[in-house]
Symmetry: C2
Subunit: 414 residues, 2 copies
């Protein structure tokens, strides 16, 4: 598919994340005004809430939903397609009546962005094999790296929706119970092994109750965001047996401000890897269910330059978001519009393709060295982390924008 | 404290769960009409939404909250106390103008009850020591029964709020991946080891962000409900390493319809047990933080009589709900009004004081025998389970009503 041209000039640049092919969905406000739904185009945002009566009267209620895009999602896939068709037409270079539309275009750099939807519940998976093998090798040795069920189910756990924050939000280093291997007692102190996890988040757009098929699950996904699942490894090590991560993952999870729709990602579909053990029928792929999305992790020390510390691709996942959603429904778990499913850390086979500092520094034993000579095993106060994701078309790219956050020092407790 | 007498005659019976001393909060509707907030008194419910303009104008918005009691909780502890004082006065035997109130009293047996509040997020703990030792002994042997962190933190995991249902809702036996110890491959089939967990659920009534003290946590709790955390033990065994229970706990969690407020439970406070290892300062008890509440689990086979299969007490917990809430906040996890914290399974020291079939039947190796000669290791289709809880005063009781559900056969999947 070639670049689709828009009358918004910046959308035709080969380096914009937001050409007409993309049209990601966000929530914005101008100068403290009300929150409106917006669609990014080049370096502008189109105020679609303001177009309700003139161009989108068929979705008036959804476009004024105070939660964000939840109302649009609830309106169902037929409306998703109709809305997308209208916006694509309005922003196409062949559209003639652009006068009124120009008034509803705002430079993205001039608006405040907000969470694009209300997160109903947040689930995080462990579905990237390189990550699972790396972490398992560090914790249990290479012979027992993968848990027994790993090749049969996308292992997941429930996270904390209240902790999901927008890109740009400062992250406060958490307190927690820490216990070194040689300590006799734990102590309550700020985490010393605070980490990131590079993930993609899938957003459930259609509710369900009871087991659903892979095809139905794929159809139920509305879109994707970048996701950084901040993780306190020392808190995690002490708490995670036998019921899994809890406070180590509850400080914050950052998501990017723009929902890249499944429709925009269609041209970039690719297959999951070959199965080492055949999946049970209900989880088998029926078509290409992953996407070819280049992903990077960059780190900027306080006052320093941003530099890329890892490069990988979403096609490294072992399980697709559709397969994760199928597994999530098997026991009858009700899924709701706005449920957010984290892919799990996305790591590639190479050392510089690892999506967490835990893996990049091999548990702190092999710290990475930054361009300015500083070393990192885990995050230092003041470090800013930036995730990016881009699917590459011919002469254009479908990008996610930036998913960033700066670690600030632990607060005094209580 | 003696019985507080009401002009509602049934509230003065020594066997009612709902004397004037209790005044639990629910949501009800009459003949398909709108949902109103109600307060139980004897065998009646007082429609407090209908009393808004006449008696409760200071909380008009909260009393018409479509979510239930969330709005009242959000209004804060001062309003909680003021509301309770007004209702106590209106229903006291010394109140003179009962004419208008009689019109707003409905027999509980004539109304439909609904979830009393919108559950924001649901967390389940593992904070009863007898339960943890029992389960740990079965899974890891008596020497390794308690996980290393168990005596230092109330271990918890995030559950699934969307799966919380009201007492009386049928529970459908879940499907899931099952794998026997001798099987080479898992299979997808209905759970064969479907179980219950007797718990008390604490409801967060005041939001927080960042570590809070035990006293603050205690103040932030609004009230309690009975909670049955239905659990598929075979799904759990296959999935729970290393990230904890997921689909095994996502089929349903049943709660009782009436929120018993912290205020009503005040006279029944009692201390947590002696600590085997001193807790870190932020988790230490500052006053009696448990409650003396007798709890029972009863089972009725399809077409058979209800019989009690376990008796225990909430005072068996090692960690209080306040301590659980403190731990929940340590990493900066934002807590919201309507968060539900399951205590974890409440088991006593004796064999017939165990709050799950897993423990009562010792992993299925010692099935229990019912009065009619039937045996149970885990639930059979058609079994109805009823939890009850009662704090006993002098000549009165503060009860929770019933928390029940019937297991119905697995549905055909997909």
């Amino acid at each position: 598919m070639p670049l689709m041209k828009s009358w918004v000039a910046s959308a035709n640049s080969p380096t914009t994340d937001f050409p007409l092919n993309n049209l990601p969905y966000g929530v914005f406000s101008v100068a403290g005004g009300p929150r409106h739904l917006g669609v990014a185009i080049g370096d502008m945002v189109l105020d679609v809430t303001a177009l309700t009566s003139s161009h989108l009267p068929f979705m008036a209620q959804a476009l004024s939903d105070p939660r964000g895009w939840n109302g649009v999602m609830e309106a169902g896939p037929e409306l998703w397609a109709r809305f997308r068709k209208v916006i694509t037409s309005l922003l196409s270079e062949t559209y003639e009546d652009v006068g009124a539309l120009r008034d509803q275009l705002h430079p993205i750099c001039d608006v405040d962005l907000h969470l694009p939807f209300k997160v109903s519940e947040y689930t995080d998976f462990y579905a990237g094999k390189h990550h699972a093998v790396n972490v398992g090798t560090m914790f249990r040795g290479p012979e027992n790296a993968l848990p027994p069920s790993w090749l049969h189910i996308p292992i997941g756990y429930n996270g904390r929706a209240s902790s999901v924050v927008l890109s740009g939000t400062d992250i406060t280093r958490p307190w927690g119970q820490l216990k070194g291997a040689d300590d006799t007692m734990p102590r309550f102190a700020p985490s010393e092994r605070f980490d990131i996890e590079l993930e993609l988040g899938a957003i459930v757009g259609t509710p369900s109750q009871g087991p659903i098929s892979v095809d139905q699950a794929d159809a139920n996904i509305f879109g994707y965001v970048l996701l950084n699942d901040w993780s306190a490894r020392d808190i995690q090590a002490w708490e995670y047996q036998p019921l899994g991560p809890f406070q180590s993952k509850a400080t914050a999870t950052t998501i990017s401000p723009w929902i890249v729709t499944k429709a925009a990602l269609e041209p970039f579909r690719c297959a999951t890897p070959n199965r080492e053990v055949e999946l049970l029928p209900h989880l088998r792929d029926t078509s290409p269910m992953l996407y070819d999305i280049d992903l990077t992790v960059a780190l900027a020390p306080s006052g320093g330059e941003v530099q890329t510390i890892a490069r990988t691709n979403y096609n490294e996942m072992y399980y697709s978001a559709a397969q994760q959603l199928v597994h999530h429904t098997t026991s009858g778990c009700p899924m709701r519009v706005g449920d957010l499913l984290g892919s799990g850390t996305i790591s590639g086979a190479e050392k510089d393709a690892r999506g967490s500092l835990l893996e990049l520094s091999w548990g702190g034993n092999e710290p990475i060295t930054l361009d300015d000579g500083q070393v990192r095993s885990f995050l230092h106060d003041g470090d800013r982390v930036v995730l990016r994701g881009v699917a590459r078309g011919s002469g254009f790219r479908v990008g996610f924008g930036e998913c960033s956050g700066t670690l600030v020092p632990a607060a005094d407790p209580m």
